[in-house]
């Protein structure tokens, strides 16, 4: 029962009994309550006219970093005896210090500040309308309302810095970079020799080959080093995501984290990188270079979430046109058992594929440790997973089985020996 109804019914009871029994004393007894109630009603605020501005020290932050939020409210209406303002925090954010609400007395034109610090998980966090309750001095007739103040925070994933991963796709871009292009030209690694042409530097002349043939001079060729196209595909299908133990972050967060680290490493090497988040929808970042592209990718990863979308349950509809032909594709996916044919087809289409697969079996086994018959279940799940991975290995796809409790860098370099090998396209195989 709201508190005002208690005093209302007590006053009504006293008056009715007083009138019924024709007792003036009982009606007198109700007077303090009636005057209290009347004063509350008389002093209850009319229309609340608040102008509230929101200030944040950053709109884009790294997940877990503190964000200072300040709200400044000005009363543009009548004086308010007591007002309660609460900034309702979006889900995925946690208050760190200060308070996101305030209770105050506000005269006309007076200002009030709400100052607090929050931390937020990866994602796009939109602030809800502010909850405002204005009341009379006795809080008998509080008026609830909301004030819309736009506020949004974009929390990007934390980038775990990893060492450069040398890739070697079949096709590279024509600009100098770190990737060996399998073409002769200027570089550091010996590639072959050809006949001397006018203008070749003398220090490139292969004198041993020239000594064997008295009439011709030969020039050393070096393997040209260019930049490459790297496409990162993050699997956001709900059926491949695995939830952790109570409150632990899901496996998808690890996928996002490693995708951010990989894109950062490729971009640092000067490569052209694109991103596709495939699952709930198809969020994409078209190929690009440099810090601006890094920001675009991080923003896209910040908003990535898993979800169910029937047409995108399988990898059949991967929009391969987003990625240049014969480029390097890095697929970050826990993999489902129906994915092998599509991945093999992708390999056959000429892409060099590297799969970074966060191990869902080990992840869930950790979360369910201590449950009955878990060891048998894990063993069976591991057999199924190994069967799938072997099928992919046999097709020439390089798969990194990453147990997420290990640093991603360790798994990447252990699996690739510091080098992602160039796989033979499946179409060349018998």
């Amino acid at each position: 029962m709201q508190r005002r109804w208690l005093v209302v019914w007590l006053a009504v009871l006293l008056i009715l009994v007083g009138v019924t029994t024709r007792s003036g004393a009982l009606i007198s007894l109700s007077l303090p309550i009636l005057i209290y109630l009347g004063a509350g009603l008389f002093l209850s605020p009319g229309r609340v006219d608040l102008d509230i501005q929101r200030y944040q020290n950053a709109d884009i932050v790294t997940s877990g970093a503190p964000v200072q939020i300040k709200l400044v409210g000005t009363n543009q209406g009548q004086p308010l005896h007591e007002i309660y303002i609460e900034d309702q925090l979006p889900s995925g954010t946690k208050p760190k210090s200060g308070r996101n609400s305030v209770r105050a007395v506000l005269d006309t034109g007076e200002q009030i500040d709400i100052d607090y610090v929050i931390t937020c998980q990866r994602g796009i966090h939109k602030f809800k309308p502010l909850k405002v309750i204005a009341g009379d001095p006795f809080w008998l007739f509080p008026q609830r309302s909301t004030v819309n103040v736009y506020g949004q925070l974009l929390a990007t994933p934390v980038i775990k810095s990893i060492k450069s991963i040398p890739i070697q796709p079949q096709q590279t871009r024509p600009y100098p970079g770190p990737v060996r292009s399998r073409k002769g030209g200027s570089g550091t690694d010996f590639f072959g020799i050809r006949e001397y042409q006018t203008g070749d530097p003398m220090r490139w002349v292969n004198w041993q080959a020239a000594a064997r043939n008295s009439e011709e001079l030969y020039t050393n060729l070096f393997e040209r080093e260019n930049i490459a196209d790297a496409g990162i595909i993050v699997d956001a299908r709900q059926q491949t995501d695995v939830r952790g133990a109570n409150g632990a972050e899901p496996l998808f967060e690890h996928s996002i984290s490693v995708a951010a680290a990989l894109s950062d490493a490729f971009l640092k090497d000067g490569n052209r990188v694109s991103l596709l988040v495939y699952g709930f929808g198809m969020d994409r970042v078209f190929p690009g270079y440099g810090k601006a592209q890094r920001e675009r990718i991080l923003r896209c990863l910040a908003g990535a979430r898993t979800g169910h979308n029937y047409p995108l349950e399988s990898l059949n509809y991967l929009p391969t046109r987003l990625f240049p032909a014969r480029s390097q594709l890095v697929i970050v996916s826990p993999l489902s058992r129906h994915d092998a044919p599509q991945l093999i087809r992708l390999q056959a289409a000429g892409y060099d594929i590297l799969i970074v697969s966060p191990n869902p079996v080990a992840f869930q086994a950790q979360a369910m440790a201590g449950e009955r018959n878990i060891q048998e279940a894990v063993r069976i799940a591991n057999v199924e997973r190994n069967f799938l991975l072997r099928k992919l290995y046999r097709a020439g796809i390089q798969v990194i089985d990453w147990k997420v409790d290990q640093p991603p860098e360790l798994a990447l370099h252990r699996a690739t020996n510091g080098h992602v090998r160039a796989a033979q396209p499946a179409r060349w195989r018998r």
Partner: protein, 168 residues
């Protein structure tokens, strides 16, 4: 003003309400009821520390009904009016202190507390004075005037309730 100021006024109101009610009953020889009133007052004081939900509301209802019941015994009415008013102040301050529990800004707290205590004391004090004053007034009404007054009161109450409903 400090946070303890609300607590002081609250405790004083509970004590005043209890003492006046028990005195009114004890002076007419109803010692058992007086003892129950004292125990109720002590429980209410304990609630100030323990923060039991709804106890303040139950106590206000109890003290109001006890004051009303005292009219038929008959007890000394000015004491009962004082008890009821003090109970109302205590009930209000109990809710106020709960509401202000999480207010951390000391300046704002001080300002709200000062304004609230002044308001509640002023309004309840005025109510008390008017109620005590009306106890001294004696008017003889014939049946038809009393009936008219009763109808007027009923209409007034229903209008007030409608206004309260509309206000929310």
């Amino acid at each position: 003003m400090t946070r303890s100021r609300t607590a002081k006024v609250l405790v004083a109101s509970i004590v005043l309400s209890t003492v006046t009610l028990s005195t009114a009953y004890a002076s007419a020889g109803y010692y058992t009821v007086a003892a129950v009133a004292i125990i109720s007052g002590l429980v209410w004081l304990l609630d100030h520390k323990q923060r039991w939900d709804h106890l303040a509301s139950i106590m206000l209802a109890l003290f109001t009904l006890s004051s009303a019941f005292g009219y038929w015994l008959p007890l000394y009415m000015p004491l009962l009016v004082l008890s009821l008013t003090a109970a109302l102040v205590a009930w209000d301050l109990d809710h106020f202190s709960r509401r202000m529990q999480h207010t951390v800004n000391p300046e704002q707290f001080e300002r709200i507390e000062k304004q609230h205590i002044q308001s509640v004391l002023l309004v309840c004090g005025t109510g008390l004075l008017i109620a005590e004053g009306t106890l001294l007034v004696r008017i003889q009404l014939n049946f038809w005037v009393a009936l008219f007054a009763a109808l007027l009161v009923l209409i007034g109450l229903t209008r007030t309730l409608a206004l309260i409903h509309r206000g929310t």
